[in-house]
Symmetry: C2
Subunit: 245 residues, 2 copies
Amino acid sequence: MLEAPLYKEVKQSLTRGLAGGEWRPGEALPSESALALRFKVSIGTVRKAVDELVAERAVVRQQGRGTFVSSHDAKRLLFHFFHIVPRTGERSYPETRTLAFRRDRATADEATALAVPAGDPVWRIRNLLLLDEAPALVDDIVLARARFPDLTERIFTQRENTIYNLYQSRYGLSVLRSSERLRASLAGAEIARLLVVKRGAPLLEINRIARTYHDAPVELRRSLVNTERYDYLSDLGKSEVSQLT
Amino acid sequence: MLEAPLYKEVKQSLTRGLAGGEWRPGEALPSESALALRFKVSIGTVRKAVDELVAERAVVRQQGRGTFVSSHDAKRLLFHFFHIVPRTGERSYPETRTLAFRRDRATADEATALAVPAGDPVWRIRNLLLLDEAPALVDDIVLARARFPDLTERIFTQRENTIYNLYQSRYGLSVLRSSERLRASLAGAEIARLLVVKRGAPLLEINRIARTYHDAPVELRRSLVNTERYDYLSDLGKSEVSQLT
DNA sequence: AAGTGGTCTAGACCACCAT
DNA sequence: TGGTGGTCTAGACCACTTA
Protein backbone atom coordinates (compact mmCIF):
# COMPACT_ATOMS: atom_id res chain seq x y z
CA MET A 1 0.00 0.00 0.00
CA LEU A 2 2.82 2.38 -0.80
CA GLU A 3 0.77 4.34 -3.27
CA ALA A 4 -2.92 4.68 -3.95
CA PRO A 5 -4.15 3.98 -7.48
CA LEU A 6 -4.47 7.03 -9.67
CA TYR A 7 -8.22 6.82 -9.90
CA LYS A 8 -8.48 6.86 -6.10
CA GLU A 9 -6.50 10.08 -6.04
CA VAL A 10 -8.77 11.55 -8.66
CA LYS A 11 -11.76 10.46 -6.63
CA GLN A 12 -10.30 12.05 -3.51
CA SER A 13 -9.75 15.30 -5.37
CA LEU A 14 -13.30 15.25 -6.66
CA THR A 15 -14.67 14.46 -3.20
CA ARG A 16 -12.73 17.36 -1.73
CA GLY A 17 -14.19 19.63 -4.39
CA LEU A 18 -17.68 18.35 -3.61
CA ALA A 19 -17.28 18.65 0.16
CA GLY A 20 -15.71 22.09 -0.20
CA GLY A 21 -18.47 23.44 -2.38
CA GLU A 22 -16.45 23.90 -5.56
CA TRP A 23 -19.42 22.37 -7.31
CA ARG A 24 -22.77 22.90 -5.61
CA PRO A 25 -25.69 20.46 -5.50
CA GLY A 26 -27.51 20.41 -8.80
CA GLU A 27 -24.57 21.87 -10.69
CA ALA A 28 -22.67 20.01 -13.36
CA LEU A 29 -19.13 18.82 -12.87
CA PRO A 30 -16.66 19.56 -15.66
CA SER A 31 -16.95 17.06 -18.47
CA GLU A 32 -14.98 13.87 -18.17
CA SER A 33 -12.59 14.94 -20.89
CA ALA A 34 -12.03 18.27 -19.10
CA LEU A 35 -11.33 16.43 -15.84
CA ALA A 36 -8.93 14.13 -17.65
CA LEU A 37 -6.97 17.17 -18.86
CA ARG A 38 -7.09 18.83 -15.46
CA PHE A 39 -5.78 15.78 -13.59
CA LYS A 40 -3.52 14.76 -16.46
CA VAL A 41 -4.93 11.23 -16.60
CA SER A 42 -6.74 9.30 -19.26
CA ILE A 43 -10.47 9.57 -19.60
CA GLY A 44 -10.88 5.95 -18.51
CA THR A 45 -9.28 6.75 -15.18
CA VAL A 46 -11.65 9.67 -14.65
CA ARG A 47 -14.54 7.42 -15.47
CA LYS A 48 -13.48 4.88 -12.87
CA ALA A 49 -13.29 7.61 -10.22
CA VAL A 50 -16.70 8.98 -11.18
CA ASP A 51 -18.11 5.43 -11.26
CA GLU A 52 -17.43 5.16 -7.55
CA LEU A 53 -18.91 8.55 -6.77
CA VAL A 54 -22.02 7.46 -8.62
CA ALA A 55 -22.12 4.23 -6.59
CA GLU A 56 -21.94 6.32 -3.43
CA ARG A 57 -24.68 8.56 -4.81
CA ALA A 58 -22.53 11.67 -4.51
CA VAL A 59 -23.10 12.49 -8.17
CA VAL A 60 -25.50 11.50 -10.91
CA ARG A 61 -24.67 10.90 -14.55
CA GLN A 62 -27.04 11.93 -17.33
CA GLN A 63 -26.13 10.73 -20.74
CA GLY A 64 -25.73 13.55 -23.22
CA ARG A 65 -26.04 16.23 -20.51
CA GLY A 66 -23.26 15.80 -18.00
CA THR A 67 -22.53 14.67 -14.44
CA PHE A 68 -24.33 16.52 -11.67
CA VAL A 69 -23.84 16.88 -7.95
CA SER A 70 -26.64 14.99 -6.21
CA SER A 71 -29.27 17.28 -4.84
CA HIS A 72 -31.79 16.38 -2.19
CA ASP A 73 -35.00 16.44 -4.07
CA ALA A 74 -37.94 14.98 -2.22
CA LYS A 75 -38.25 11.84 -4.30
CA ARG A 76 -34.62 10.91 -3.84
CA LEU A 77 -34.85 11.39 -0.08
CA LEU A 78 -38.06 9.43 0.21
CA PHE A 79 -36.45 6.53 -1.55
CA HIS A 80 -33.04 6.50 0.09
CA PHE A 81 -33.56 7.70 3.63
CA PHE A 82 -37.19 7.15 4.56
CA HIS A 83 -37.71 3.43 4.97
CA ILE A 84 -41.24 3.45 6.33
CA VAL A 85 -43.65 2.09 3.74
CA PRO A 86 -47.30 1.08 3.83
CA ARG A 87 -47.87 -2.63 4.42
CA THR A 88 -49.63 -2.60 1.09
CA GLY A 89 -49.78 0.08 -1.54
CA GLU A 90 -47.67 3.00 -2.67
CA ARG A 91 -45.17 4.97 -0.64
CA SER A 92 -46.46 8.32 0.44
CA TYR A 93 -44.72 11.51 1.55
CA PRO A 94 -44.73 12.26 5.26
CA GLU A 95 -46.02 15.59 6.52
CA THR A 96 -43.94 17.13 9.30
CA ARG A 97 -45.11 19.13 12.33
CA THR A 98 -42.48 20.56 14.61
CA LEU A 99 -43.44 20.12 18.26
CA ALA A 100 -40.33 21.38 20.01
CA PHE A 101 -37.15 23.26 19.19
CA ARG A 102 -34.65 24.05 21.94
CA ARG A 103 -31.02 24.46 22.91
CA ASP A 104 -29.24 21.89 25.04
CA ARG A 105 -25.90 20.16 25.61
CA ALA A 106 -24.78 16.88 24.09
CA THR A 107 -24.66 13.80 26.28
CA ALA A 108 -21.46 11.80 26.21
CA ASP A 109 -22.87 9.31 23.69
CA GLU A 110 -24.31 12.03 21.50
CA ALA A 111 -21.03 13.94 21.49
CA THR A 112 -19.18 10.80 20.42
CA ALA A 113 -21.67 10.08 17.66
CA LEU A 114 -21.59 13.67 16.42
CA ALA A 115 -17.81 13.89 16.72
CA VAL A 116 -17.88 16.99 18.91
CA PRO A 117 -16.49 17.51 22.42
CA ALA A 118 -18.61 16.19 25.29
CA GLY A 119 -21.08 18.74 26.54
CA ASP A 120 -20.99 20.76 23.33
CA PRO A 121 -24.10 22.76 22.48
CA VAL A 122 -26.77 21.04 20.41
CA TRP A 123 -30.20 21.70 19.01
CA ARG A 124 -32.96 19.35 20.08
CA ILE A 125 -35.94 19.15 17.77
CA ARG A 126 -39.04 17.02 18.03
CA ASN A 127 -41.20 16.40 14.99
CA LEU A 128 -44.44 14.55 14.55
CA LEU A 129 -44.72 12.91 11.13
CA LEU A 130 -48.04 12.09 9.56
CA LEU A 131 -48.56 9.50 6.88
CA ASP A 132 -51.82 9.52 4.97
CA GLU A 133 -52.92 12.25 7.35
CA ALA A 134 -52.55 10.19 10.50
CA PRO A 135 -49.73 10.42 13.10
CA ALA A 136 -47.22 7.67 12.42
CA LEU A 137 -43.78 8.69 13.77
CA VAL A 138 -42.20 10.88 16.40
CA ASP A 139 -38.70 12.05 15.47
CA ASP A 140 -36.22 13.42 18.00
CA ILE A 141 -33.36 15.13 16.20
CA VAL A 142 -30.02 16.22 17.65
CA LEU A 143 -27.75 18.61 15.73
CA ALA A 144 -24.41 20.06 16.75
CA ARG A 145 -24.89 23.82 17.07
CA ALA A 146 -21.32 24.22 15.83
CA ARG A 147 -22.46 22.91 12.44
CA PHE A 148 -25.78 24.78 12.39
CA PRO A 149 -24.84 27.99 14.22
CA ASP A 150 -27.58 30.33 13.04
CA LEU A 151 -30.43 27.85 12.91
CA THR A 152 -33.70 29.07 14.37
CA GLU A 153 -37.07 27.46 14.83
CA ARG A 154 -38.40 29.82 12.20
CA ILE A 155 -35.78 28.79 9.65
CA PHE A 156 -36.37 25.16 10.49
CA THR A 157 -40.14 25.24 10.22
CA GLN A 158 -40.48 27.79 7.43
CA ARG A 159 -38.21 25.90 5.06
CA GLU A 160 -39.70 25.28 1.65
CA ASN A 161 -38.37 21.79 1.31
CA THR A 162 -37.31 18.73 3.28
CA ILE A 163 -35.09 18.84 6.35
CA TYR A 164 -32.14 17.27 4.56
CA ASN A 165 -32.59 19.79 1.80
CA LEU A 166 -32.25 22.55 4.39
CA TYR A 167 -29.03 21.02 5.71
CA GLN A 168 -27.72 20.91 2.18
CA SER A 169 -28.77 24.27 0.82
CA ARG A 170 -28.13 26.40 3.90
CA TYR A 171 -25.22 24.60 5.58
CA GLY A 172 -23.57 22.79 2.70
CA LEU A 173 -24.07 19.44 4.41
CA SER A 174 -25.27 16.83 1.94
CA VAL A 175 -26.46 13.69 3.67
CA LEU A 176 -25.11 10.80 1.63
CA ARG A 177 -25.62 7.78 3.85
CA SER A 178 -27.10 6.76 7.13
CA SER A 179 -26.66 3.86 9.47
CA GLU A 180 -29.55 2.77 11.61
CA ARG A 181 -30.03 0.55 14.63
CA LEU A 182 -33.53 -0.75 15.20
CA ARG A 183 -35.23 -2.27 18.19
CA ALA A 184 -38.71 -2.79 19.56
CA SER A 185 -39.99 -0.71 22.44
CA LEU A 186 -43.24 0.22 24.16
CA ALA A 187 -45.13 3.48 23.99
CA GLY A 188 -44.87 5.66 27.09
CA ALA A 189 -47.61 8.08 28.10
CA GLU A 190 -46.43 11.07 26.07
CA ILE A 191 -45.56 9.20 22.89
CA ALA A 192 -48.81 7.25 23.10
CA ARG A 193 -50.73 10.52 23.18
CA LEU A 194 -48.83 11.89 20.17
CA LEU A 195 -49.20 8.74 18.09
CA VAL A 196 -52.76 8.09 19.24
CA VAL A 197 -52.03 4.59 20.48
CA LYS A 198 -52.48 2.90 23.84
CA ARG A 199 -49.75 3.05 26.44
CA GLY A 200 -47.69 -0.10 26.10
CA ALA A 201 -48.38 -0.39 22.38
CA PRO A 202 -45.40 -1.81 20.47
CA LEU A 203 -43.29 0.75 18.63
CA LEU A 204 -40.34 0.44 16.32
CA GLU A 205 -37.41 2.50 17.56
CA ILE A 206 -34.87 3.65 14.98
CA ASN A 207 -31.59 5.28 15.94
CA ARG A 208 -29.96 6.90 12.95
CA ILE A 209 -26.68 8.63 12.29
CA ALA A 210 -26.72 10.57 9.02
CA ARG A 211 -23.37 11.27 7.39
CA THR A 212 -21.92 13.41 4.64
CA TYR A 213 -18.65 13.31 2.68
CA HIS A 214 -15.74 11.58 4.41
CA ASP A 215 -18.33 9.96 6.70
CA ALA A 216 -18.60 13.10 8.80
CA PRO A 217 -21.72 12.94 11.03
CA VAL A 218 -24.46 15.48 10.37
CA GLU A 219 -27.50 14.47 12.36
CA LEU A 220 -28.64 12.13 15.10
CA ARG A 221 -32.24 11.02 14.97
CA ARG A 222 -34.38 8.70 17.04
CA SER A 223 -37.67 7.73 15.45
CA LEU A 224 -40.52 5.99 17.20
CA VAL A 225 -42.81 4.39 14.67
CA ASN A 226 -46.30 3.00 14.94
CA THR A 227 -45.98 -0.08 12.72
CA GLU A 228 -49.62 -1.07 12.81
CA ARG A 229 -50.07 -0.11 9.18
CA TYR A 230 -46.47 0.53 8.05
CA ASP A 231 -43.29 -1.50 7.78
CA TYR A 232 -39.64 -0.62 7.83
CA LEU A 233 -38.27 -1.80 4.50
CA SER A 234 -34.74 -3.08 4.37
CA ASP A 235 -33.98 -4.17 0.86
CA LEU A 236 -30.25 -4.49 0.85
CA GLY A 237 -28.99 -5.41 -2.52
CA LYS A 238 -31.86 -3.86 -4.39
CA SER A 239 -30.42 -0.38 -4.20
CA GLU A 240 -27.00 -1.64 -5.10
CA VAL A 241 -28.27 -3.80 -7.88
CA SER A 242 -31.01 -1.60 -9.26
CA GLN A 243 -28.89 0.24 -11.73
CA LEU A 244 -26.89 -2.86 -12.50
CA THR A 245 -29.74 -4.99 -13.68
CA MET B 1 -33.38 -0.33 -26.08
CA LEU B 2 -33.06 -2.31 -29.25
CA GLU B 3 -29.98 -4.13 -28.10
CA ALA B 4 -28.35 -4.75 -24.75
CA PRO B 5 -24.71 -3.74 -24.31
CA LEU B 6 -22.23 -6.51 -24.91
CA TYR B 7 -21.07 -6.66 -21.31
CA LYS B 8 -24.67 -7.20 -20.17
CA GLU B 9 -24.93 -10.18 -22.46
CA VAL B 10 -21.69 -11.55 -21.10
CA LYS B 11 -23.01 -11.03 -17.58
CA GLN B 12 -26.23 -12.85 -18.46
CA SER B 13 -24.24 -15.77 -19.82
CA LEU B 14 -22.13 -15.91 -16.71
CA THR B 15 -25.20 -15.71 -14.47
CA ARG B 16 -26.81 -18.57 -16.37
CA GLY B 17 -23.66 -20.61 -15.86
CA LEU B 18 -23.66 -19.82 -12.16
CA ALA B 19 -27.36 -20.55 -11.70
CA GLY B 20 -27.07 -23.75 -13.73
CA GLY B 21 -24.15 -25.07 -11.76
CA GLU B 22 -21.53 -24.90 -14.50
CA TRP B 23 -19.25 -23.46 -11.85
CA ARG B 24 -20.01 -24.56 -8.30
CA PRO B 25 -19.66 -22.45 -5.16
CA GLY B 26 -16.02 -22.13 -4.17
CA GLU B 27 -14.77 -23.03 -7.62
CA ALA B 28 -12.87 -20.67 -9.85
CA LEU B 29 -14.34 -19.19 -13.00
CA PRO B 30 -12.19 -19.33 -16.13
CA SER B 31 -9.65 -16.54 -16.19
CA GLU B 32 -10.75 -13.23 -17.63
CA SER B 33 -8.63 -13.70 -20.72
CA ALA B 34 -10.16 -17.15 -21.25
CA LEU B 35 -13.65 -15.69 -20.90
CA ALA B 36 -12.72 -12.96 -23.38
CA LEU B 37 -11.75 -15.61 -25.92
CA ARG B 38 -14.83 -17.69 -25.19
CA PHE B 39 -17.25 -14.80 -25.64
CA LYS B 40 -15.16 -13.21 -28.38
CA VAL B 41 -15.02 -9.84 -26.62
CA SER B 42 -12.20 -7.77 -25.27
CA ILE B 43 -10.93 -8.34 -21.77
CA GLY B 44 -12.24 -4.96 -20.66
CA THR B 45 -15.77 -6.02 -21.54
CA VAL B 46 -15.40 -9.20 -19.50
CA ARG B 47 -14.11 -7.16 -16.59
CA LYS B 48 -17.13 -4.89 -16.70
CA ALA B 49 -19.46 -7.89 -16.60
CA VAL B 50 -17.56 -9.46 -13.71
CA ASP B 51 -17.48 -6.10 -11.91
CA GLU B 52 -21.26 -6.24 -11.67
CA LEU B 53 -21.30 -9.83 -10.49
CA VAL B 54 -18.84 -8.83 -7.78
CA ALA B 55 -21.08 -5.91 -6.79
CA GLU B 56 -23.96 -8.37 -6.49
CA ARG B 57 -21.73 -10.67 -4.45
CA ALA B 58 -22.27 -13.56 -6.85
CA VAL B 59 -18.51 -13.96 -7.28
CA VAL B 60 -15.38 -12.85 -5.49
CA ARG B 61 -12.15 -11.70 -7.07
CA GLN B 62 -8.78 -12.58 -5.59
CA GLN B 63 -5.83 -10.91 -7.14
CA GLY B 64 -3.27 -13.34 -8.42
CA ARG B 65 -5.55 -16.34 -7.81
CA GLY B 66 -8.69 -15.97 -9.85
CA THR B 67 -12.41 -15.25 -9.58
CA PHE B 68 -14.44 -17.60 -7.42
CA VAL B 69 -18.11 -18.41 -7.06
CA SER B 70 -19.29 -17.04 -3.71
CA SER B 71 -19.73 -19.75 -1.16
CA HIS B 72 -21.73 -19.49 2.01
CA ASP B 73 -19.09 -19.65 4.65
CA ALA B 74 -20.30 -18.73 8.11
CA LYS B 75 -18.50 -15.40 8.32
CA ARG B 76 -19.96 -14.18 5.06
CA LEU B 77 -23.47 -15.16 6.11
CA LEU B 78 -23.13 -13.58 9.51
CA PHE B 79 -22.12 -10.34 7.91
CA HIS B 80 -24.56 -10.18 5.02
CA PHE B 81 -27.72 -11.88 6.21
CA PHE B 82 -27.75 -11.81 9.99
CA HIS B 83 -28.38 -8.25 11.05
CA ILE B 84 -28.79 -8.77 14.77
CA VAL B 85 -25.82 -7.33 16.65
CA PRO B 86 -25.09 -6.70 20.32
CA ARG B 87 -25.88 -3.18 21.46
CA THR B 88 -22.22 -2.94 22.39
CA GLY B 89 -19.40 -5.28 21.55
CA GLU B 90 -18.56 -7.80 18.88
CA ARG B 91 -20.95 -9.78 16.71
CA SER B 92 -21.33 -13.35 17.78
CA TYR B 93 -22.54 -16.45 15.96
CA PRO B 94 -26.03 -17.68 16.76
CA GLU B 95 -26.58 -21.23 17.90
CA THR B 96 -29.63 -22.91 16.36
CA ARG B 97 -32.05 -25.37 17.98
CA THR B 98 -34.77 -26.81 15.80
CA LEU B 99 -38.08 -26.95 17.67
CA ALA B 100 -40.43 -28.10 14.93
CA PHE B 101 -40.25 -29.55 11.43
CA ARG B 102 -43.43 -30.42 9.58
CA ARG B 103 -45.27 -30.61 6.26
CA ASP B 104 -48.00 -28.17 5.38
CA ARG B 105 -49.58 -26.21 2.53
CA ALA B 106 -48.73 -22.66 1.50
CA THR B 107 -51.17 -19.90 2.29
CA ALA B 108 -52.11 -17.59 -0.55
CA ASP B 109 -49.56 -14.96 0.52
CA GLU B 110 -46.82 -17.50 1.02
CA ALA B 111 -47.46 -19.06 -2.36
CA THR B 112 -47.20 -15.66 -4.00
CA ALA B 113 -43.99 -14.82 -2.18
CA LEU B 114 -42.47 -18.21 -3.01
CA ALA B 115 -43.67 -18.08 -6.60
CA VAL B 116 -45.48 -21.42 -6.40
CA PRO B 117 -49.16 -22.25 -6.98
CA ALA B 118 -51.50 -21.52 -4.08
CA GLY B 119 -51.82 -24.45 -1.71
CA ASP B 120 -48.56 -26.03 -2.84
CA PRO B 121 -46.76 -28.21 -0.30
CA VAL B 122 -44.26 -26.51 2.00
CA TRP B 123 -41.99 -27.32 4.89
CA ARG B 124 -42.56 -25.41 8.12
CA ILE B 125 -39.61 -25.20 10.44
CA ARG B 126 -39.30 -23.44 13.78
CA ASN B 127 -35.87 -22.65 15.20
CA LEU B 128 -34.81 -21.07 18.44
CA LEU B 129 -31.63 -19.05 18.11
CA LEU B 130 -29.32 -18.41 21.03
CA LEU B 131 -26.90 -15.53 21.20
CA ASP B 132 -24.22 -15.62 23.86
CA GLU B 133 -25.97 -18.73 25.18
CA ALA B 134 -29.30 -17.04 25.82
CA PRO B 135 -32.50 -17.33 23.71
CA ALA B 136 -32.74 -14.29 21.46
CA LEU B 137 -34.80 -15.11 18.35
CA VAL B 138 -37.52 -17.47 17.19
CA ASP B 139 -37.40 -18.16 13.45
CA ASP B 140 -40.31 -19.60 11.49
CA ILE B 141 -39.14 -20.78 8.10
CA VAL B 142 -41.26 -21.72 5.08
CA LEU B 143 -39.76 -23.62 2.14
CA ALA B 144 -41.44 -24.83 -1.02
CA ARG B 145 -41.24 -28.63 -0.94
CA ALA B 146 -40.91 -28.52 -4.72
CA ARG B 147 -37.49 -26.92 -4.27
CA PHE B 148 -36.42 -29.08 -1.33
CA PRO B 149 -38.08 -32.38 -2.22
CA ASP B 150 -36.04 -34.82 -0.16
CA LEU B 151 -35.45 -32.64 2.87
CA THR B 152 -35.90 -34.35 6.23
CA GLU B 153 -35.67 -33.16 9.79
CA ARG B 154 -32.56 -35.26 10.14
CA ILE B 155 -30.86 -33.66 7.14
CA PHE B 156 -31.89 -30.25 8.36
CA THR B 157 -30.68 -30.66 11.91
CA GLN B 158 -27.65 -32.85 11.26
CA ARG B 159 -26.12 -30.47 8.76
CA GLU B 160 -22.52 -29.56 9.44
CA ASN B 161 -22.88 -25.96 8.52
CA THR B 162 -25.34 -23.08 8.35
CA ILE B 163 -28.84 -23.37 6.93
CA TYR B 164 -28.01 -21.29 3.86
CA ASN B 165 -24.98 -23.46 3.33
CA LEU B 166 -27.30 -26.48 3.25
CA TYR B 167 -29.53 -24.83 0.67
CA GLN B 168 -26.47 -24.13 -1.41
CA SER B 169 -24.56 -27.38 -1.15
CA ARG B 170 -27.48 -29.81 -1.30
CA TYR B 171 -30.00 -27.97 -3.47
CA GLY B 172 -27.82 -25.64 -5.52
CA LEU B 173 -29.70 -22.62 -4.22
CA SER B 174 -27.30 -19.82 -3.34
CA VAL B 175 -28.97 -17.07 -1.38
CA LEU B 176 -27.63 -13.83 -2.82
CA ARG B 177 -29.92 -11.19 -1.40
CA SER B 178 -32.82 -10.76 0.93
CA SER B 179 -35.46 -8.14 1.44
CA GLU B 180 -36.89 -7.63 4.87
CA ARG B 181 -39.89 -5.84 6.32
CA LEU B 182 -39.69 -4.99 10.00
CA ARG B 183 -42.27 -4.01 12.54
CA ALA B 184 -42.77 -4.02 16.29
CA SER B 185 -45.02 -6.58 17.95
CA LEU B 186 -45.77 -8.03 21.37
CA ALA B 187 -44.82 -11.41 22.77
CA GLY B 188 -47.65 -13.92 22.99
CA ALA B 189 -47.66 -16.69 25.57
CA GLU B 190 -45.74 -19.28 23.58
CA ILE B 191 -43.07 -16.95 22.20
CA ALA B 192 -42.65 -15.35 25.61
CA ARG B 193 -41.93 -18.78 27.08
CA LEU B 194 -39.37 -19.58 24.38
CA LEU B 195 -37.57 -16.26 24.61
CA VAL B 196 -37.86 -16.09 28.39
CA VAL B 197 -39.57 -12.72 28.42
CA LYS B 198 -42.86 -11.50 29.86
CA ARG B 199 -46.04 -11.72 27.86
CA GLY B 200 -46.53 -8.36 26.19
CA ALA B 201 -42.81 -7.69 25.96
CA PRO B 202 -41.87 -5.76 22.83
CA LEU B 203 -40.38 -7.84 20.04
CA LEU B 204 -38.92 -6.96 16.68
CA GLU B 205 -40.66 -8.88 13.89
CA ILE B 206 -38.71 -9.43 10.69
CA ASN B 207 -40.29 -10.85 7.56
CA ARG B 208 -37.68 -11.90 5.07
CA ILE B 209 -37.70 -13.21 1.53
CA ALA B 210 -34.35 -14.71 0.55
CA ARG B 211 -33.57 -14.85 -3.16
CA THR B 212 -31.07 -16.48 -5.49
CA TYR B 213 -30.02 -15.80 -9.10
CA HIS B 214 -32.58 -14.02 -11.25
CA ASP B 215 -34.30 -12.98 -7.99
CA ALA B 216 -35.96 -16.37 -7.65
CA PRO B 217 -37.32 -16.82 -4.10
CA VAL B 218 -35.75 -19.52 -1.94
CA GLU B 219 -36.99 -19.09 1.60
CA LEU B 220 -39.58 -17.22 3.66
CA ARG B 221 -38.65 -16.47 7.23
CA ARG B 222 -40.33 -14.65 10.09
CA SER B 223 -38.06 -13.80 12.99
CA LEU B 224 -39.19 -12.58 16.38
CA VAL B 225 -36.33 -10.91 18.18
CA ASN B 226 -35.85 -9.91 21.77
CA THR B 227 -34.08 -6.56 21.33
CA GLU B 228 -33.34 -5.94 24.98
CA ARG B 229 -29.65 -6.47 24.41
CA TYR B 230 -29.41 -6.63 20.60
CA ASP B 231 -30.13 -4.27 17.72
CA TYR B 232 -31.01 -4.78 14.10
CA LEU B 233 -28.27 -3.07 12.15
CA SER B 234 -29.16 -1.44 8.85
CA ASP B 235 -26.06 0.15 7.46
CA LEU B 236 -27.04 0.86 3.91
CA GLY B 237 -24.22 2.33 1.97
CA LYS B 238 -21.50 0.81 4.07
CA SER B 239 -21.71 -2.54 2.34
CA GLU B 240 -21.85 -0.84 -1.01
CA VAL B 241 -19.04 1.50 -0.20
CA SER B 242 -16.81 -0.77 1.82
CA GLN B 243 -14.84 -2.09 -1.06
CA LEU B 244 -14.85 1.25 -2.76
CA THR B 245 -13.15 3.18 -0.02
C1' DA C 1 8.63 -18.19 -13.89
C1' DA C 2 4.01 -18.40 -15.25
C1' DG C 3 -0.61 -17.11 -14.56
C1' DT C 4 -4.07 -14.26 -12.42
C1' DG C 5 -6.49 -10.04 -11.46
C1' DG C 6 -5.68 -4.59 -11.13
C1' DT C 7 -4.43 -0.26 -13.27
C1' DC C 8 -3.81 2.88 -16.99
C1' DT C 9 -3.66 4.48 -21.58
C1' DA C 10 -5.35 6.10 -26.32
C1' DG C 11 -8.54 5.98 -29.42
C1' DA C 12 -12.89 4.68 -32.03
C1' DC C 13 -17.61 4.73 -32.31
C1' DC C 14 -22.39 5.14 -30.46
C1' DA C 15 -26.58 7.20 -28.04
C1' DC C 16 -28.43 11.06 -26.26
C1' DC C 17 -29.24 16.05 -25.43
C1' DA C 18 -29.16 20.83 -26.34
C1' DT C 19 -29.14 24.48 -29.74
C1' DT D 1 -24.19 20.24 -35.12
C1' DG D 2 -21.26 19.95 -31.23
C1' DG D 3 -20.76 18.30 -26.68
C1' DT D 4 -21.78 14.88 -23.26
C1' DG D 5 -21.68 10.34 -21.24
C1' DG D 6 -21.69 5.01 -22.61
C1' DT D 7 -19.52 1.13 -24.85
C1' DC D 8 -15.78 -1.42 -26.71
C1' DT D 9 -11.22 -2.42 -28.15
C1' DA D 10 -6.08 -3.58 -27.87
C1' DG D 11 -2.30 -3.42 -25.52
C1' DA D 12 1.19 -2.25 -21.80
C1' DC D 13 2.62 -2.70 -17.33
C1' DC D 14 2.06 -3.79 -12.28
C1' DA D 15 0.96 -6.64 -7.99
C1' DC D 16 0.02 -10.77 -6.25
C1' DT D 17 -0.15 -15.92 -5.82
C1' DT D 18 1.47 -20.43 -6.68
C1' DA D 19 4.64 -23.72 -7.81
